[in-house]
Subunit: 298 residues, 2 copies
Amino acid sequence: MNAPFSLDSNLDGARTQVESLLADRMARLASAGTPRRLHDSIGYSLLGGGKRLRPVLCLAFAEAVEPGASRRPVVQDAACALEAVHTYSLVHDDLPAMDDDDLRRGRPTNHKVYGEAMAILAGDALLTEAFGWVAGDGEAPRGRLCSELARAAGAVGMVGGQVLDIAEDRPATLDYLLRLHRLKTGALIRAACRMGVLAAGGNPAALAAAEAYGDGVGLAFQIADDILDVTSDATTLGKPTQADAAAGRHTFPAVVGLAESRRMADSFVRQALDAVRVLEPDPGPLAALARYSVERSS
Amino acid sequence: MNAPFSLDSNLDGARTQVESLLADRMARLASAGTPRRLHDSIGYSLLGGGKRLRPVLCLAFAEAVEPGASRRPVVQDAACALEAVHTYSLVHDDLPAMDDDDLRRGRPTNHKVYGEAMAILAGDALLTEAFGWVAGDGEAPRGRLCSELARAAGAVGMVGGQVLDIAEDRPATLDYLLRLHRLKTGALIRAACRMGVLAAGGNPAALAAAEAYGDGVGLAFQIADDILDVTSDATTLGKPTQADAAAGRHTFPAVVGLAESRRMADSFVRQALDAVRVLEPDPGPLAALARYSVERSS
């Protein structure tokens, strides 16, 4: 990626830039000697589409801190690592012992193509390589970025949230839903914003803005996901709808109703828009991303 | 751990020190808000015994570089992280989709106790927290240590080795066995030695010694494992014997015979002993650990 990161109104350009960064890292893994079948399995999921929300947020926050910062290797490594961690979590969540999903983004899930053993190992490798990319040569601020990523992805972050989501005794309350999603999806989205700021050398005010923005966008995004599962159709969504209810999963529409879910999502988007004015006084890419989190169709 | 690290002749003292460091990190995970059942599942495997070879090597190399260095948080974090990565790999390897083992260290495997979903997540959390421990506050040399750990554990390290081990077309040749085990078990053992040196601020000569020593000990340890599987009994070993042959796994005794396997193990121990003289002119803890890698009974 030679051009600085920019956001088209439809995000397609930003996504293309992210795909190119990810393809570059896959090529490096191949030339480093990754066993062929493992490389194929990793690439199948990492390069298999997706919204690329986390890397785009990371790159956009870096640009907001300092125009041109998205060209720095440390920023790009962080962006790719966030997508790798997100991808590993999907590969493991889809396993028969977890959600047992056959379709992801309109394609067979990783374990349906490569088998369960390879899907487990591809997920493990994605998580490990993510830290390898962020750690790079180990120079500052890479150690700090590894710390951020581990906190967001670990036992008190994403994995902890997944455990809350599969707990048998989970209560169908708004408090529990908010806690669960602040961990399961929110932690990594907050980290995406924070890591963009940290990788670009942003100050504490920028970091606080990233935290509040990430919290708002993360929750708005999840509520929108729950709403789409109820209101969309499988072709548009790329996966079966009504899947949450079928799986006995608690959702925002089920717990507080569709209208209140929409109101909450809008309120979290406003939280994000308010937070980010310190970095982006006139509405720009970050404001567009916040609106996109609830206005998308899939 | 207040006393500097020391090695008793039987390793028990060193192991007790490691267990105490690990218990301390488990307590921190609990107070940080890790969901109870996840914490239990992680602790079941992390505090469930084992040789603690990797953390002991890390602490011993740090002491060899600078007496007292094993008291530094960065060294202790690295030691605990190495054990966490090793433990996660065992939890995932034991899963039904992988080796489908019911017993580990004489106890039911993690998924037999907590279920497959929780075992997958406990492994994911252990791997993630390992990087969190090493990354700590992000100050040097923590970024570099994260890089070392990722390289050793990832697609061209431990995970890559596991993929080679489950490949259907793996040849029963010595070359393939050596390549496989230099990745599957060797990479993390080499990293244990290297990270001890790096965390203690050792020079390039010490790092090269750690690499050659780790390579020798790693291969000697694996060959000894294969030999014990043929010659030991289940009570002594804490797991079923003859399991390699039953699983159709290629082993050193099967490929080159028992006598040649013993000769090779001794030769790798000598490689380790030779390498470490630059750090330990008179035989000390590192020499004892190298000998232990082949002379143990389980």
